[in-house]
Each structure stands twice: as structure tokens, then as C-alpha cells.
Amino acid sequence: MNKYTVINPHSEFKVINTHVHNIDGAAKVTGRATYTFDVKLPNMLYGKILRSPHPHAKILNIDYSKALELPGVIGVVTGKDTLGVKQGIWRRYQDLCDEQVLTVEKVRYIGEAVAAVAAITEEIAEKALDLIDVDYEVLPAVFEPMEAIKKEAPEIHEGFERNINVTRHIEWGDVEEAFEEAEYIREDWFKCGGQAHMCMETRAAVSDYTPDGKLTIYHSNQSPYYMQGLMAGVLGMREGDIRVISTYVGGGFGGKFELDGAIFCSAVLSKKLHRPVKIVFTREEDFIASKRRTPMFYYVRTGVKKDGTFCAREAKVFTNGGAYTGMGATALYLTGFFHSFPYRWKGYRYDGYRVYTNTLPSTSMRGFGAPQAMFCSEQQIEWIAADLGLDPIEMRRKNSHYEGYEVPGQATIASCGIDQCYDEIKKWIASKGKLPANRSIGISACGFMSGGIFNWFDTPYSFSSAVITINQDGTVELHVGAQEIGQGSNTTMAIICAETLGVKVEDIKVHSGDTDHCPPDLGAWGSRQTLMAGNAVKMAAEDAKKQLLEFAYAQSGYNIVYDLDIKDRWVHAIARPERGYDYGELVKKALRGKDGQRIVGRGYYTPHRKGMISPAYSYMLQGVEVEVDEETGKIKLVDSFTAHDCGQPINHLGLIGQLEGAFSMAAGYGYLEYMPYEDGKLMNPNLVDYKMIRATEMPPANIAEIDTYEPEGPYGAKEAGEGLTNPTAAAIGNAIFHRFGVQMKENPIRPEMILNALREKAEQDKAAGKDKPGKKK
């Protein structure tokens, strides 16, 4: 049902890119894997959070005396039990630290946490919420960014004029001059929707504050180190006195690396009540009170020459930031940068405005601003090609990045396989032959980063670190801060470690997800771990291996110009691979030689001189075959194909899984996953009404992997699995455009939008005396 092909494969590896099973498999298929959701500590209480029914209100008084009288209720906390610290993940910038997770004076969205109860059962805690009386002074509220920037709009945060939270400007070249050169200019407005992360494991935490002043937290997140740092800030504790354990995490997708109500309220309750407290969000809470992908209004003006050469682009973007900053500030930057991808623009200008509204805060989500950017860019480019009568694939190709290209002042492209992606997608389209009348194909290109180089968190540590300890039997303890959230990072790190050291994956035990035992690492976001943590692991394994080989040299008797190596646990001279001995033997010798000290290898990665965004960029091109029912406007994906350059693939099974999974989430963003708000209230906060891709809706996800070599990545690897969330919405839109000639400027593309567009087109055509629509262009 799926075809996977590899273009330019490299095969010198023993472990990398072979059929290695995910190392957490036995735990995950047997129910042994213990998630935060499953943690139960002795004497543990259950917490529940009282949430604001108002989008914007002052809290005048909270009376929880009746709740305390309910048998089984142990305690209640409100903002007054906290230090009232305004926090944010951009902690280097004080004005962007704007969120008190348990609010003190004011609520700014429906669902914001107002109080939290701990009781001996979850049921009692839930009942107690009804017994808390909150007096609110309701304030005028505003829900859309284009309203919120008006002069007369209510002020959501003091001192932020016109509710503008953050602005971003990116510019290169002489934009006006480049537009002057253009022979054809097109401008469009787009509206990009939000999207729920919808992790299968809802936000969950168990906090245990003990009399020695230490706090242990089990928490479902993407970066235990960030949680440790942020919690220290809001509780006035030392980072080192807080331990965050996140062994198995039920999904993240960009939504789990900021403080959430579960971790904060459980910790405040535990500190006050001196008992462990567990808080698990219901699915409804997860929808209304976690965060979401950032909705955006996009204005795009693009100038090209008649032969399809791209000259200039200018974009203005207003994002619905919701009530707080969070990671939304980064999404505002990245959407503006990736909107230029994967093309060369002589002049490029982007102005982004993140606007506060009285809605659920928006933040990062898989793709990190780029899916919105590509929905607009890749459709407009298709329309330009149609306007000028040019081949949309060849027009893209002639303007694309290439190896060695410098995005002026922003980035240097050290590896780029997009040219071959165009070849592969053409082959796929040709292989489809003539399509049935109700089907059409749309394509979309994009690129993505391999980790961000920015340090708004202000970490004093290297971005990634790894420590390797070798046991006497040759087994390896690999300690990494890289966070496993299902994307397979534990397996990827084990593969890099095994390949480098020359042992088997079964020899590696990966320790991650525990701040007491693992070195700090920024965690799983922005597709950073394979490159950054992977480099740290490679360096640590090389360090350990060098120490081992010193002993091997000392007793080998070989001339020093010979190279020794270990591969598949076999220690040998490269020139004489048949004469060697077992790696376990070498480890024992090395131990004796070191007076019993174990071999410890250390590695780290901190980016330097890598431009403004990322050390490396992946490239991809996707085609989708779409069927639309003209009567109902219903979309069905029939087939898909992705040509993809992630440098050297490391984790073969993991890569396929990530590409297929990203595609399903991207397809959901394209036509299903819709978050309608009315007066600040989400109208579908449940899995009956919030539609997403299910097994019957998922088409084949054919993949051609274009292997390139990325010099900055470990063994040539770069991003995979996040970038592929970017192209699909536009590809679906382009398929609809080619079938009907209508332009879909809003996503998710819903049936009524298609029907309306067809109706309008029919009316226009009728007025112009043309044929009825429905014919392929």
C-alpha cells in the first residue's frame, strides 16, 4: 500500500539506516510503559482546576470555604498562594513573560485557571469545584486580531498598545527595486486556522514536595530541563532542588514545552498540603486550556518576471496570539522566515504582528508557523504559474535553493536535495496517467530547520549534552537530555551511539527524561534533537572509543600509522580486519589499565556562526491526489507522494513513521481540524466534533528519500518529521484549484467553502457567458 524508495543511498553503515526496532517497543506494546497518566504515589491526592467562564474579567473575590467543608477535600489554592510570578519561555525578555499559570487578578480567556482543589479522590475534587464562589467583574473582550489592533479595542495586557504583543521584521535585498523589476505582481489575503495538538495523553503531572525542600515532578512534556527551569522561577526554588521525570510521554507536537496548569497547580498544591498531588486534564480541558497552533491572517504580495523568475515578495502577518506569549513569539519569527522557502528572492520583506486576544493562547505546533506560511505561499505560486501559463514545477525548480546558496543575512544552505525532489514528483505524476474526472493532483514544496540556534530561554548550558559510561561487559549507559516523546529519539540516539562506538543497539541503554540523571538539553522542539543531541552523542561515543583504542594500540604492537577501529564489537586494524578480538575483552583491559575507573565519554553541541535560524535545512516536495464530491464538497485524499531530503537517514523505521505521521497531521490541518470560536468559546472541545484523520481517511503515503550529506549533522543527518507538516494544506488547495479553478484562501478547507466557491464561480462564469465549472483546467 506504500512505496518507499531511496535515491543515492549510502551503505557504509553497520547500524545507521538499518531495520532497527524502536528500543521502547517491548514496554509500549505490552502496557508496561508507565506514563505520567499512570503514576500513583503513596498518600497521593487528586487535583482539579476551576476555570474561568469569562473571556475577560477581573477577579474580585474567591470564596472556597464551602469547598473545604466537603468531606475528602484537603485543600484549595488560588493565585494568592503563589508568588504571582509572571513567567514565559522567552525568559530572557521580561516583557514577554506575561503569564501567571494560576491567575491572580484577571482572567484573559475562557478556561484560564482560577483555583485548584486537592481531594482524596478525583470525583470529590471535581464536586468541590462547584462549591467555590468567584466574583468576577466582567470586562469587554476581543477575539480576533484585526479587531484587537483597533484603537478602541479593550486593553488585554497593560502597556501593550493596540494589543500588539510582539513584532518581527525580516528583510533582505532592495525590495522596492526588486518589485520594479517584476513584470507581474499578485497580492492575496489568506486566513490560516488554528489546530489542537491533540496529544493522546492529555496534560498530566504528579508533584511531590518533600520536607527536605525538594520537589519531584512526574510530568508529560517535551523538555524536562525547561520545566525544571521554569518551575524554579515560579516557585522561587533552585533548579537543582527540582527533579522532573518524563520517562514516557504520550505525544507532544509542540504543545508540551511550556508550563501548563497540571504541573503548576499540582506543585503549588503539593507545597501547601505536603502530599503528592496528581492532576490530569480531561480531553475538554486539553482543548480549551492547553494551547493551539497559531491562527494567522496573511497578506502576500509577490512579483515575478514573465519567464517565472522570482523577484520580490512582501508579507504582512497578523497572528491571533490569544491571551499570552508562550512559544508564539518564535512561531511569529519562523513563519516569516519559512514563507520565503525554498526559493531565492532578490528582495524579501516580512512584517509580523502577534496580537493579544481574549482566546486560548496560541503557540508552537509541529511545523512551527511554516504550515501557515506554506498554505499561502505555495498556493499563490501555483496561481502565478497559471496566470502566466508556466509549468508550476519547473517554475519552482528554477527559483529554488541549491547547495551553497546563502539566504541573505539569514542562512547558508550546506545541503539541498530539492532539485531531485522535482524529478521524483514528476515521475510520480506521470505514473498516475489520466485521472478520473473527479480527481486532481496538487503539489507543494517546502523546507524546514534542524533545530533553532536562538537562546531566548537564556540557558547557560550547551544546547545538547551526552554522557556515555561503559560497563565491564561492554554494555553502555547513554545519558542524554534529549526527550523521547514518541518521535523515536531514544532509538536514534542509541543508533548513533552504537554506530560510533562500534557496538550493537542492544548494547546501549538510553537514559533520558529525568533531570536528576541526565545532562541538560533544550529538549524536543524545532526538530533539533537528531542534529544537536545526535552530535553530542557522537562526540561522547568518539571520546569513549578513543580512550578504549588507546589501550588497544598500546598492546597491539602495530606501527603507529595503522588505524584501529571497532565495528560490530570487533576490535581490529582497519588494514587487517580479520585479525582482531572481542570488544568486551578490550573494555576489561581498559578497566585494569585505568585502575578500575570506568570509561566515560562526554559530548556536547552548541551552535556557532550558523546564521539566524538553524544549522541545517531539510527540503521536500509533496503531491496529493484529491477527490472532491461536487454535491457535498467533501474531500477525500486518494494517494500521496513525498520526495524528501533529510540528509543521511539515521533511524529508518522512525523516519518512515515520522513522515507518515506528519502527513496525517498536515492533512488534518488542510481539510478537517477546525477550531471554531464564538465569543471566545471553543465550540467543539471534544473528539466527537473535532474531526481528525482516522485510519479510513488516511491515503497511502509514498516516499522517495533523497539522501544528501549535511556537513553539520551527525553522519550527515538533518531534520525529518516536522517539516512534512508544512506542505499538505497547500497541496490540497492546489488540487482543488486545478480541478475547479477556484482558490481556497482559508484552511481547513471545509465542504461549505468549496461549495460556496463553486457557486460563486458558476455565477461569475454565467455573467461572463462561459461554460459551467467543474472542468479541469
Binding site: M1, V29, T30, F253
Partner: protein, 161 residues
């Protein structure tokens, strides 16, 4: 409400629990018996994370009261392996990378097993329909479909005594 005594057979083991008669089967399995392999992902019988087998048929254990399951044979994810050996469907999930975060995997595997019990040689479409009630946010399902298909082909069958 008065608690009631319930005798429940889970993974061939009989348990006696005193429960609120309104307790859902998933709550009893997780909170009273302590088998936390079975997950919960929603409150609306929509996600399938809590799927178990009752008399060999897949059932979302948040959709039935525990009292209704009295006398039935309940199988949870913990009951699939025998003598420490994985069931073919479990091996297939590992071999095909048919899970990522793993939170949906127990329910997904139970749905898959129940499907194969009922229809040992399903078509691809029958497989997709068989797991339609289970949401997986990570994989995009195709690896799961491949794993179930390979299991039906007999690829992972072997002696587990």
C-alpha cells in the same frame, strides 16, 4: 451510593472488588485492579485508547459499566503475552514501528487482535474499518495497517508455550 461486590475475570484471573455500581469498566481495570496498560484519551467514547476484549470482541471499556462485565472473559493488553512471549500482533507492531508515543498502542492492539479473531484474513479496507474507532495521533495509521496485515499473513506465528 452503596458499594457493590463485583467478581471480574481479567486475563483469566478472577478479582473481587467493591465498587460504586456506576464505575466504568476502564476505571475498575485501571484504578481498582491496577492494570494501567489500558489508557483513556477522551470522555466521549471517541478515541479507543481504553479498548479491551470482552469474550474476544473489542469493546471501549469507557462505554460499559464494570457491573455489566461480570461473568465475562476480559482481556487487556497485559493478557496478550504468554509465558513472557509476545503475541504475534505485538511482535508485528514492533517490527513495523506501528506505534510512536505508544499511548494509543494498547487499545489499538486490542482492536487489531479482536479484528483478527473475527476475520483472520481481512482486506486492507477491513483492517482500516476495524481500527477506525482508535485514534493514533503519531503514526498516520499506515504502519499499523501493515502490521495487522503481516500478522494475518502468519508472519509472526510461532510456538509460545
Amino acid at each position: 451510593m452503596d458499594k457493590k461486590l463485583l467478581r471480574l475475570t481479567v486475563n483469566k484471573q478472577e478479582y473481587e472488588v467493591y465498587i460504586n455500581p456506576k464505575a466504568l469498566l476502564v476505571e475498575v481495570i485501571r484504578d481498582y485492579i491496577g492494570l494501567t496498560g489500558t489508557k483513556r484519551g477522551c470522555d466521549t467514547v471517541s478515541c479507543g485508547a481504553c479498548t479491551v476484549m470482552i469474550n474476544g470482541m473489542s469493546v471501549k471499556s469507557c462505554s460499559v459499566l464494570a457491573m455489566q462485565a461480570e461473568g465475562a472473559q476480559i482481556t487487556t493488553i497485559e493478557g496478550l503475552e504468554q509465558n513472557g512471549k509476545l503475541a504475534p500482533i505485538q511482535k508485528a507492531f514492533i517490527d513495523h514501528g506501528a506505534y510512536q508515543c505508544g499511548f494509543c498502542a494498547p487499545g489499538m492492539i486490542m482492536s487489531a487482535q479482536a479484528l483478527l479473531n473475527e476475520n483472520p484474513h481481512p482486506t486492507e479496507w477491513e483492517i482500516r474499518e476495524g481500527i477506525e474507532g482508535n485514534i493514533c495521533r503519531c503514526t498516520g495509521y499506515n504502519s499499523i495497517v501493515r502490521a495487522i496485515d503481516a500478522t494475518a499473513e502468519g508472519k509472526y506465528r510461532e510456538d509460545r508455550s
